[in-house]
């Protein structure tokens, strides 16, 4: 076999390793309970059914979990953009003293494990009356997302022409107006991408959301805490519900991936 053929075979093998588990979880979630009890399990979708998924959605706590996950995700995106975009703009546009330490500080906070924050934050939020609210989880997720938001938006603003912004100010626009009219429209696609990354981070975070809530569980927290006493069908449907947004998200985002996660992640 030629070298090129080997490359093709290897690529297909890796794609199968990455893709087959996704197919299997979809297959399991879209099988009826009766066919999930059969053995051996059919490897082809012989009798697709939404019964398993419907039972999962009807379980107590799942729909509120969806709603909480959405609330926390959107809240995290808005808050981290509100706080992070000015920081990113400052890093991109101003050579101020303390810029280096500021960036170091952001990188350092990214290296802190979530668990180190979650347990003490639970006590702090308990005292502040925020425990077991979606606000508590939003604050934690914003703290996790903020360093990345600042670094990504900084990289985006570097790419926006400074001359146009200055020209607008020469013609009498205030700095704020120049920013809103000139910079924001150009930076918008990048900022939208950063927002989606933040949303996924929040959607996927399990441990902190579990520790900071009792009743206001997000979807992953709800699935995790009910895991040990649930039937397999429920777990498969839960896995599928958590995986599905990822597949859609990557389909939209794959163009930006290398720029965002590849280079700015440093």
């Amino acid at each position: 076999m030629s070298r090129r053929a080997w490359v093709q075979v290897a690529c297909v093998a890796i794609t199968l390793f990455m893709g087959v588990p996704l197919y299997l979880i979809a297959l399991a979630a879209l099988s009826s309970r009766e066919s999930l009890n059969r053995f051996p399990l059919p490897l082809l979708p012989t009798d697709p059914s939404v019964e398993t998924l419907r039972t999962f959605l009807d379980t107590t706590g799942i729909v509120p979990g969806f709603v909480n996950s959405l609330t926390v995700g959107i809240g995290t995106v808005l808050l981290s953009l509100l706080i992070g975009v000015p920081g990113g703009y400052a890093v991109a546009r101003y050579a101020f003293r303390g810029r280096g330490p500021y960036q170091m500080f952001l990188l350092l906070t990214r290296a802190l494990p979530i668990v180190v924050l979650s347990v003490p934050l639970a006590r702090i939020f308990l005292n502040a009356g925020l425990y077991d609210t979606t606000y508590a989880v939003t604050l934690l997720h914003t703290a996790l997302a903020l360093p990345t938001t600042v670094l990504i938006t900084a990289a985006i603003f570097v790419g926006v022409s400074r001359e146009q912004e200055e020209a607008a100010m020469v013609f009498g626009a205030s700095p704020m107006k120049a920013f809103l009219r000139i910079v924001v429209p150009q930076a918008l696609p990048g900022i939208a991408a950063a927002a989606m990354f933040t949303f996924v981070l929040s959607w996927n975070e399990v441990l902190g959301a579990t520790i900071l809530t009792l009743n206001q569980r997000t979807l992953p927290a709800q699935v995790l805490t009910t895991l040990s006493d649930s039937p397999l069908a429920y777990r498969f449907a839960g896995g599928f519900a958590l995986v599905l947004p990822a597949v859609v998200f990557i389909a939209i985002m794959r163009r930006y991936l290398l720029n965002m996660w590849g280079t700015t992640l440093r």
């Binding site: 090129r4 979880i25 490897l43 805490t225």
Partner: protein, 283 residues
């Protein structure tokens, strides 16, 4: 700007102030509270919580499993990610499609990954079904009686989920390498493996360093994969903080374990930076 006088703080400070205040409130403050929770009892400083943590046999099993997971997983993951990036560099057919499938796990949480692989490895799951169809008896992959296959299942799930992060960093790093060196080496007769070893990998060092630190810290935090696949049969350190917090209702011991995780993360990061610097100096 002319309006920025001596008295008013410069614009940049105003712009970064909100994020600085926020990060201090949500990182530094909890850190201080956390140290207090782990080391201060109702009557002053105490080592009671640390001793309680160390006396728990689960702690040592969890520490051993976490370490073992990192030692086995990280080298495999890097070899796999570099191989994937090199394959893509050969511009195979359907490269765009392969790339899409290979990066999907990037957006999948470790809990979801655990559930996905549960459908494969569980007793009446897809792996045993497939084996049964070709006439091989099933195996209890995730039973606590088979710690080796249980561990392999967790490694496989993590390899599946988290290799794409390394892969994306490596691919982005490769894009930044000028082709000239590689072409020059080829002209002078270097084989493919010689070029990979002596031209491409050395230039990837900065990307690999970042990926290594990031992945080690993230691997230390692994927990929901093992939770979904094995329950508490394969305890990991972060899983133990969760256990102490949610089941034993003891936030103090939980905070003590969290501090251990923090210390190990910092050590790992410092160690890698040191190692990488030493190697660049001796080169």
């Amino acid at each position: 700007m002319a309006r920025t006088g001596r008295r008013t703080p410069p614009a940049a400070v105003l712009l970064i102030a909100p994020s600085l205040i926020f990060m201090t409130a949500l990182f530094m403050w909890p850190l201080v509270v956390g140290v207090g929770q782990a080391l201060v009892g109702p009557d002053g400083p105490t080592t009671a919580y640390l001793r309680r943590m160390l006396d728990d046999p689960y702690f040592w099993t969890a520490a051993r499993n976490t370490l073992l997971l990192i030692v086995v997983l990280i080298p495999l993951q890097f070899a796999f990610a570099i191989a994937m990036a090199l394959l893509l560099r050969e511009r195979p057919r359907f490269a765009g499609f392969h790339f899409y499938i290979w990066v999907i796990p990037l957006a999948i949480s470790d809990l979801a990954a655990g559930l996905v692989w549960l459908s494969v490895f569980t007793d009446r799951g897809y792996l045993n079904s497939a084996l049964d169809m070709i006439g091989i008896d099933g195996y209890a992959w995730l039973s606590y009686q088979n710690p080796v296959t249980m561990f392999i299942a967790v490694v496989l799930a993590e390899l599946w989920r988290a290799t794409s992060l390394v892969f994306v960093i490596v691919v982005a790093g490769m894009q930044g390498i000028p082709k000239d060196y590689d072409e020059a080496a080829e002209v002078f007769g270097a084989t493919y493996w010689q070029r990979v070893r002596h031209v491409i990998l050395p230039q990837l060092r900065p990307s690999l360093q970042v990926a290594l630190i990031l992945r080690t810290i993230l691997a230390l935090e692994t927990f929901a994969v093992a939770q979904a696949l094995t329950g508490r049969n394969l305890p990991l350190l972060v899983g133990e903080t969760y256990q102490w917090y949610s089941v034993q209702l003891n936030p103090n011991v939980s905070a003590a374990i969290a501090l251990v995780i923090l210390a190990v993360s910092m050590l790992a990061a410092a160690g890698y930076l040191r190692l990488m610097r030493d190697q660049t100096e001796t080169r």
